[in-house]
């Protein structure tokens, strides 16, 4: 009669549970969507970036910025205070609003702006890829397609609010969607022409040895960068929620947690686009090459952190523009995006094709 030692059993159970949790965490869809570079990383980054934005602007403007909340941390906890205040404030739903889209759109917008992060590779190791190998060959295409989903819900928000400023704001947003999307996608696709592959892994591997596509093809990078600025309503293109013209644009009627979600959405979208730009132009995880059979830490955590760190730099640059520029008018922004950014993207694409032929 064989007997099972209690000790062994316990050990087995513990180890199974532990490794089960680790496996679950590092299961690519969960890891990328929820942890890095997904929700958790995005939240941490957004909070830090907003803090940085406020502090950097204050620096330019000869003052301190947020400070008293935690003088030792230079006011870093300010955003947590704001978050707590927003989370517990009363949520007002106007009687004239269309309730279901009014409530659901902010959350859809948030989730959909995170989606592109769930289909991109953040490591060259095969098991970390969130899609099947055959789907992975088209990851650029899929990610680019997914970035276009969330703006529709911003338009829906403005429409559901039934407020005049919201209506004007969502109208502006819908104008801008058409204006930037083409440029952004063509800008990112110009690397496809250079590398001859829709696979992000190939694109990043192509950029080894400091041969970043952003350096080879700066025009496309610039086009993608500007298009990202327009898409995430960063200065100087903060048009759809221009505070001095149309209060808060589509978000005018949102209060409490719902507005907190809305405010986060724009930044999270900027974060997702920054990650895409890092992968396409700035070498991804590239200075670091994980061993082919690397485990959770070396094969997944470290490269994803490298990608995130690069994306943070890109995002900080975008946020810093607030201190320098005013905002464009809607027709001027459309003019710029159709006449110059689109031309820039096409030129970048042409350059990408040429380089793909030569290299």
């Amino acid at each position: 009669m064989a007997y099972i030692s209690i000790w062994t059993l316990t050990r087995d159970v513990i180890s199974t549970v532990f490794w089960g949790i680790v496996k679950l965490i590092f299961w690519p869809p969960i890891y990328q969507f929820v942890i890095i570079p997904g929700l958790v990383a995005a939240l941490v980054v957004v909070i830090s970036i907003i803090w940085f934005e406020r502090k950097a602007a204050a620096r330019v403007q000869m003052r301190y910025g947020p400070l008293e909340v935690s003088p030792k941390l230079a006011g870093y906890l300010q955003l947590f205070a704001d978050l707590i205040r927003y989370s517990f404030q009363e949520i007002i739903i106007p009687r004239t609003a269309d309730i279901i889209p009014f409530i659901t759109s902010p959350f859809f917008a948030l989730l959909l702006s995170l989606l592109p992060l769930a289909v991109i590779p953040v490591s060259p190791v095969k098991w970390t890829w969130p899609l099947t190998l055959s789907a992975m060959r088209y990851s650029v295409l899929i990610a680019a397609a997914l970035t276009t989903l969330s703006p529709i819900f911003i338009v829906a928000m403005g429409w559901a609010s039934n407020n005049r400023f919201s209506t004007i704001g969502s109208m502006r947003e819908s104008f801008l969607i058409t204006a930037y999307e083409l440029s952004a996608i063509i800008g990112i696709f110009s690397v496809v022409a250079t590398v001859h592959s829709f696979d992000f892994t190939n694109i990043v591997n192509f950029q080894g040895g400091g041969k970043w596509l952003g350096l080879i093809n700066p025009i496309a990078l610039l086009a993608a960068f500007i298009a990202t600025l327009i898409s995430t309503s960063a200065f100087p293109f903060e048009i759809s929620d221009a505070e001095n013209e149309i209060v808060a644009g589509p978000f005018t009627e949102y209060s409490g947690l719902m507005y907190g979600v809305n405010m986060g959405t724009a930044y999270i979208k900027r974060w997702a686009m920054s990650v895409l730009i890092v992968l396409a132009f700035l070498g991804g995880w590239r200075p670091y090459i994980p061993p082919p059979n690397a485990g959770y830490i070396a094969g997944y955590l470290v490269p994803s952190l490298i990608v995130s760190a690069k994306a943070v730099v890109v995002m900080a640059l975008m946020s810093f523009l607030r201190a320098v520029y005013g905002r464009y008018r809607i027709d001027q922004a459309l003019h710029i995006s159709w006449k110059y950014v689109f031309a820039l993207a096409i030129a970048g694409f042409g350059l990408g094709i040429l380089e793909g032929y030569l290299l």
Binding site: G65, Y86, E253, S255
Partner: protein, 197 residues
Amino acid sequence: MDDSDGNKKVYVGNLDESAERARELLIKGLKLDKIIDWGTTFSLWPIDLTTSCCGCEFAATWGPRFDAERYGALPWLSPRQTNLIVIEGTITRKMACALRVSWEQMPHPKFAIAMGTCALDGGLFYNSYNIVRPWKIIPVDVYVPGCPPRPEALARAIVELQRIVKKGEASKTILRGMARSKPTPKLKEDPCSWWWG
């Protein structure tokens, strides 16, 4: 559980009472009230309701020299996302309506600072036929005397309000559904009755 007859019985206490107890447990266990009060203290966002000439000093308070953003107060645009009204001086009859509407548009918990002698009791314009006393329109937490008050005085008022909030003014409305210590005044006459817009 089964009783002696074998019938199944579910013992349920007073639901309201247990819910109350669970809430208290949550509040005490997680210190939720402390967290909320801390968050609200450092996130008093005043609304851009510029009502009168004290607005000059209000703007200077958020300027580089006095920089009230240090206290986490950021002037914001839309009433739905703010929780503080700074009444900057005289409230005229026309503005009274806007003040009341803005106050009602703001989500709870919300606070008010009355800035300047005019907001206290009329000041220089005490006998004008076109002004109202702000405390008849909305409840005021902190008064700042002066004509106009210096930016330091307004910054001090913000700190004073932070002290009031820290005592539990925000959490008690959110968690316990209690009324604010300063109730909203009942309007004797509708300030917006003549509104033509």
